[in-house]
Amino acid sequence: MNASVTPRRLARYPLIPVIIAMAIGFELATGSFVGSQNLLGIATDSATLAIVAVPSALLVISGYLDLSVGSTYALGAVAAGWLASEHGGGLVGCVLLALLAGLAVGAVNGFLCCVVGLSPFIVTLGTLTAVRGLAQQLAPLPLTSFGDGFAWLGGAKVAGLPSPVVIAVLVVLVAGAVLALTPVGRHIYAIGVSREAAYLSGVRVRTVPFALFLATGACAALAGAIKASVLGAVQSGTAGTGFELAVLTAVLVGGVALTGGSGTLFGVVLGVAFLGILQNGLTLVGVPTFWQQVAQGLALVVAAGLAYLSPRLEALTAVRPAAPPRPVPVT
């Protein structure tokens, strides 16, 4: 990725100036926004959102949608937490069990939406509800007292960075590599733009989104397990409630179109950062509770406005296309 900030890049990612403006504003208002502890805190808190927003974004680019992530997150947290607290499960066991739970939910969603062809919105709204019920049924009481092994998942430092951040970076890099470097990456866009044309071009139009449902389920459950490890406790009734909306918001604010076929991972990472910084800044400034909600709502509207402006700004900064060749006049 070329990191230089060109006008064209700014036009494409209008969140960049907004994030910079927010950072400056919050720093001026509080004097404690910029600072390694606070910034690292934002990164750690946003890591779970990023881990789920990234595969979700690929799913949306391919023209599908997974709303069930909030409950899959809870299921992953419950699965890992249960093994850790009731059976002294270690790091590997807990993570594997959480991934398995996530893959199971992903497989159900993927089967119904990609193979059978049901509406992803209704199906995953259904699994959102059903999986939450299941998670609560499995662990009606809070799970606590995890062993050190599992605590490592969320608490370790790798090269000075908290492990959730490291995992999020890995997820972004892997997904980014798939999207940019492999043929499947192009297939994801192609399916999102025109499923029919992709099918006629020999693209696996069922398998690819199915795999993305699996990845989204696995990542959601992993995120739940990570948060359980960080917090040292799981409550099945509240873990990840509303998370699906946060994920979708990050994806859409990051410039991925709900209609599929367009968007970039860089944009999604910006979307996650935007939400994390907003939440942090409002608390830092000490905005009263209800006004925080109002501000968060308005921020979404502003983000929608930016998404609207972006292609228009891009057109202005566009490199002029070469003029078409003029046929030589005959007469």
Binding site: R186, S194, A198, L200, S201, G202, A318, A323, P324, V330
Partner: protein, 501 residues
């Protein structure tokens, strides 16, 4: 003057689609608006219909001058437009579409009875066979086009604009349309007619205006003009087509089909040798598209399909592609193009997997493949990263052709559905050239479907005439000419003449 356009300008971002166009159409005149793909014809027409506001210039209709029109103003001024990309609403019925935005009302409520009667009368006049309550989305393209025309006529226009109205019509329907245009001309309408089919220009038009790159190149009466004059006005004259490649009787057939059948189709037997180009000719709805789609595995099928001696058992596009079959679909927008993806992605999507190493794409190899392809097919512009939607129709079609004939994929049988629909005369010629070259040099077997007898004659070694899902006749060699084709599908030559006159 009923319609007078003066100095009209419009640009999209950096693209100057119209650079000061003048156009004058008198009442009672059929005026052909011609030009290469991307010349600006549709842009001019959209400005008339109010799809956007022009950057400059004026539009004068029936004595009133506008610097820009909204769709409602345009309709109220008496301009009726048949847009190139249909402006129909698929999930609504025929009658609802005809009167959309101009409903007959009684006490604020839609007057269905009166609308149905009026729609029926219009459709009858156009020779349409659909019923007023049919869902437009269920209709074949030809009938949809007629509904679109009925919608335009329902508004009692003073100016009628038709943007490639016959691209999807069969000769039968074209005949009815041409008669209608004549009748309207006699009633004193000013008619602007856009087409790439020069036969229509010769039969119908009184004057022509030719656009090139957003400017008027020629505007003249057609009196005493030959086809060659018209072609030269539109673009530089095409070079001759490369010669037909030899077809060796001794070669085993590349594509062998026996007992192919499906709903409303077949049984069809067919055999195409390497290097042979077979044209499927028929009226709209005769089953050519369905036959090609069944061959390609897009529709379920019965029967045996053999490619290069090996049977293709599974009826899926993937199985067909693996066997060496490839299809360029007729519905370019809906089934072919990835409009927002780059030209490179469009041309090389299925080849990227072959070009990749260790599961990773090789950008350089892709770039080179694209360059080769752009050169071989004369794709313009040859910028790999431009989105496909920014290409003209002819160049889009070349990208789709290139998707299968790029020397990377093992395509040995190429299926083409309406390969030059909406493509200008020059690009059409280039596509013929490409197809010929593929057949003669790569020994690819080609099967293409077309509604234009000129095209069948120009391109095919052998033509199969289809009717109701079956092959009802075969023409080859000297016997293959336009008259014979028309003859084969129409009751008699005189009947056809009656249609056309």
């Amino acid at each position: 003057m009923t319609l007078q356009v003066t100095g009209l300008r419009k640009s999209f971002g950096g693209v100057h689609a119209l650079r000061g166009v003048d156009l004058t159409i008198a009442s009672g005149e059929v005026h052909a608006l011609l030009g290469h793909n991307g010349a600006g014809k549709s842009t001019l027409i959209k400005a008339l219909g109010g799809a956007f506001t022009p950057d400059g210039g004026t539009i004068e209709v029936a004595g009133r001058s506008y610097s820009g029109l909204s769709p409602r103003q345009s309709i109220d001024a008496g301009i009726a437009i048949i847009f190139q990309h249909l402006s129909l609403v698929e999930s609504l019925s025929v009658v609802d579409n005809v009167f959309l935005g101009q409903e007959h009302r009684r006490l604020g409520v839609v007057d269905r009875g009166s609308q149905r009667a009026a729609a029926r009368a219009l459709l009858d006049r156009l020779g349409a066979t659909c019923r007023v309550d049919d869902r437009v989305g269920d209709l074949p393209m030809g009938q949809r086009q007629l509904v679109e025309i009925a919608k335009a006529l329902s508004r009692d226009p003073v100016v009628l604009v038709l943007d490639e109205p016959t691209a999807a019509l069969s000769s039968h329907e074209i005949g009815a349309l041409e008669r209608t245009v004549r009748a309207l001309q006699e009633q004193g309408l000013a008619i602007c007619y856009v087409t790439h089919l020069l036969g229509e220009v010769e039969r119908l038009a009184d004057r022509m205006t030719v656009l090139r790159d957003g400017q008027v190149h020629v505007s003249t009466s057609l009196e005493g003009r030959t086809r060659r004059d018209i072609i030269e006005a539109i673009a530089e004259p095409p070079t001759d087509l490369p010669p037909r490649g030899p077809v060796h009787e001794a070669d085993p057939p590349q594509l062998q089909v026996s007992g192919l059948s499906g709903p409303g189709i077949g049984p069809i037997d067919l055999s195409v040798r390497p290097g042979e180009i077979v044209g499927l000719y028929g009226l709209i709805g005769s089953g050519r598209t369905r036959t090609l789609e069944m061959l390609f595995g897009r529709r379920p099928r019965d029967g045996v399909v053999t490619v290069g001696g090996r049977r293709v058992t599974r009826a899926t596009p993937r199985a067909a592609l693996a066997a060496g079959l490839a299809l360029v679909p007729g519905d370019r927008a809906g089934q072919g193009l990835f409009s927002s993806l780059s030209a490179l992605d469009n041309a090389l999507l299925p080849a990227q997997g072959v070009l990749s190493a260790f599961g990773l794409r090789r950008r350089r190899a892709e770039q080179q493949a694209f360059e080769r392809l752009a050169e071989a097919l004369a794709v313009h512009p040859s910028t790999p990263e431009a989105p496909a939607r920014s290409f003209s129709g002819g160049n889009q079609q070349k990208l789709l052709l290139g998707r299968w004939v790029n020397g990377i994929l093992p395509t040995t049988v190429l299926l083409l559905d309406e390969p030059t629909q909406g493509v200008d005369v020059r690009a059409r010629h280039e596509i013929y050239r490409v197809v010929r070259t593929i057949a003669s040099e790569r020994r690819t077997a080609v099967v293409f479907a077309s509604t234009d007898p000129e095209e069948i004659v120009a391109l095919a070694d052998r033509a199969l005439v289809m009717q109701e899902g079956r092959v009802v006749g075969e023409l080859a060699g000297a016997a293959l000419d336009e008259d014979a084709l028309l003859h084969a599908v129409h009751q008699s030559e005189s009947d056809l003449q009656e249609h056309l006159s």
